[in-house]
Symmetry: C3
Subunit: 342 residues, 3 copies
Amino acid sequence: MKKVLFATTALIATASVAAADVRISGYGRFGLDYNDANDSNVNGISKTTITSRLRLQFDMSAESDSGVGFDARFRIQAESRDNVVGAVRQANGARFGVTYEGFRLNVGNIIGAVENTPGTYLETRTAGTGIDGAGFVSHVGNVSNEYFNWDAYSSGGGGVNGVEALYSAGGFTGHISYSKRNNSTVNPGVGNGSPNAAARAAIMLAYNFGDFNVAGSYQDSDNMWEKKYILTGSYDGGNWGVRLAYADNEGIGKVGLYGNYDIGAASNILVWVTNEDAVSAADVANGRGDNRDAIAGSNQGEGTSYGIHYSYDLGGGASFETGYRRASNDNDTFQAGVYFSF
Amino acid sequence: MKKVLFATTALIATASVAAADVRISGYGRFGLDYNDANDSNVNGISKTTITSRLRLQFDMSAESDSGVGFDARFRIQAESRDNVVGAVRQANGARFGVTYEGFRLNVGNIIGAVENTPGTYLETRTAGTGIDGAGFVSHVGNVSNEYFNWDAYSSGGGGVNGVEALYSAGGFTGHISYSKRNNSTVNPGVGNGSPNAAARAAIMLAYNFGDFNVAGSYQDSDNMWEKKYILTGSYDGGNWGVRLAYADNEGIGKVGLYGNYDIGAASNILVWVTNEDAVSAADVANGRGDNRDAIAGSNQGEGTSYGIHYSYDLGGGASFETGYRRASNDNDTFQAGVYFSF
Amino acid sequence: MKKVLFATTALIATASVAAADVRISGYGRFGLDYNDANDSNVNGISKTTITSRLRLQFDMSAESDSGVGFDARFRIQAESRDNVVGAVRQANGARFGVTYEGFRLNVGNIIGAVENTPGTYLETRTAGTGIDGAGFVSHVGNVSNEYFNWDAYSSGGGGVNGVEALYSAGGFTGHISYSKRNNSTVNPGVGNGSPNAAARAAIMLAYNFGDFNVAGSYQDSDNMWEKKYILTGSYDGGNWGVRLAYADNEGIGKVGLYGNYDIGAASNILVWVTNEDAVSAADVANGRGDNRDAIAGSNQGEGTSYGIHYSYDLGGGASFETGYRRASNDNDTFQAGVYFSF
């Protein structure tokens, strides 16, 4: 058995200008998930199960003589949730990029402008509550039974096969993205992920000035209920931070307030609360999921959700992570485990 | 094309205490398999086919400041048996571990306490006879038509998603493991590998004193025919070794005797014989496989099986491996090929 | 994130004689594909789509004390064509090799003697026209609706699980290959890629004398329409080259003429034209695809096909590639994109 990877900074520094290389990185996280929506006698799943993910990421790059960079990425990951080992453990769809100074063009399994909005995910290693994100109820773009209905990098699937451009200069970042699915109603055998021909276009703008960050994004879509805009603002006070986010998800507003605080040298505690509007009667009549009748175990739900997360840095890239959250449909989850990156 | 791996010992030695890294290792083995249970005109498979496996293993690790280690492993492998290339060539389920001094806790795709019993597999590179193990008839836990009915690391699938603890100190090793499947009779769509809700718990104890090794293990299970215990003892005489193993597989006893001898500097020859009890009439009435009527090509069979294996070390991590075995149902296999590790 | 790969030549030079190692290499290519056979309103696919591939290749090797080499290879790749992300992104079937001086024996996912014939693929990075090969209409072995009906290395699937031997000495290369499928008419559940039991045997001979190269190959097969021979000859004039190829594909002759020319230090332009015979009336009566009625979007077609390809070297392993081709069935494709290797 041979050791492939070791301390890296020096190696990157000495790489020649026109070098082509592969980098391997990733993380492992594993722990226990208590979810009161599970019951061995009802849905066959124990209330407490193992939740885990091992991710291995390959980043390839090359740089032309004129300083234009080319890169590509894919991942392989193995997961377990609800005591079921994920069936897909092959590489995801690839993302390809061209970079020049502050500009980046990506094609394939794109990031997505809405997904990339600063201030939407939690300031935790899992970007959500607990050890696997606990359904990311804390995200203001997730409402009703329409979770993650925007273009985003897919870690296990093929992705949306789109195109996007990003530009950064000083404290400014701009991002536009576009994807177009094949028309599988004309040719049912050919599609990528969606039953209908649909295009999504999105834009995101973010600005950092000192300790303040503001960001806004908008997605237009041919699919129902996918038009949305998101606004966020955050303040970084050094050993504490506070953040506010709001989204209008084609008529369903959701607002979130988030705060985190360092305790000593190694600990951080984070709390959050969100409030989601009801689905309008017109939308319900038009077939939209009615989240006034909360379904246990689902993520949907009008009203208030909240959570708390605690992290302890173990050193060497490892940390202990634990979190509890209550969704507005009264679904409780509590998770604790270990996260390490490499 | 770039070279990733080279001599390793030095690199491991210089790795800092709290480093996180990825190691890549694996092996290739390929050769010819003669199996008299195959026949082009009967089952469509030639008697002699290519048998092969290429395994690539990724081991990730990190170490906290306090010396607690975290690690994870998965594999990708491509196989061919009976002239059929294996359809699954994605990563297997991940195993995650926490280590501290002689203690290890694993979750996910666990090793399994019974699987880890010293003195159960052959002292060959393939752990069985020939170049692909030839069905592992030599293992005393494999009886009737119940082969590998214990928790074990799965190289191609998701594994049992269990939990286990191991402790080693001096010549002693202790190992307990536990896995619990989802109740797929309650929720048919959700399960992991087994049609019924079932838990397996196992324990293994091993002790080495000088040239002698003894080990014992026991598995309790909610599934039929899976309760078993195994006892083994071996003596290492330097350039020769002898080993005895016995298992009670929920009423079917199987005993094995194994001996190997070094010939010169590079060769080793190994011989083995096992004897398996008949299935009791009560068990047959209760639906257990009746191995008194041996089926050609299957592994099952009351009575005596035996085999011989020869290995020649070619240097540089490569060796020539060949072996013949006759199962108690008169199934003959003869294999020869090359095995190299990296 | 750590850097795995860096400048390689030195490392290979210093590898010890009996070292075992893993090498990682590959390429990314992505661009736009205009194909007039697509139409959103007819087959659901836009005329212009993203075409892409990210390939990661693992090459393992070991060398015995006596200088015999052992190696193995597999790949993982993610592709997109016609706006569909490829569903198979796991490792392909493995190829295993034994080498000694100018001799090589391979088993598994073999190269194939016909596939390995010099002078059959275009002198471009994609071995065809444009950024993804555009169907490889330029290959004289591809006729009627029988494309790639010879043993060849499979990058995404299991391959033919065959055996082959290659020998090189001076300017001479000889190559024989053989594969045998299981008889899936006897045992429908067991096969590898083909509905009938079929064996393919092939031979290839090539010779280089100075700036001239000649090669010939022949495949015999149990499958219909797979018997073929190919003859090629080429001249390398330094900054220009010309090549002629002819194949008899079980009665369908196809001839190709190819020329390429360097423009300045970084550019190359390549043009090609092929002419394919009609399917004979006897063969049509016997069920062979009748390519006189060209089907838009298919590759088949009696008559003349032609193409032009332009490449510009960007340095650092990256290049810009673009190409247009018209198949004999009047199908036009035009592609442009970027290709980089690592």
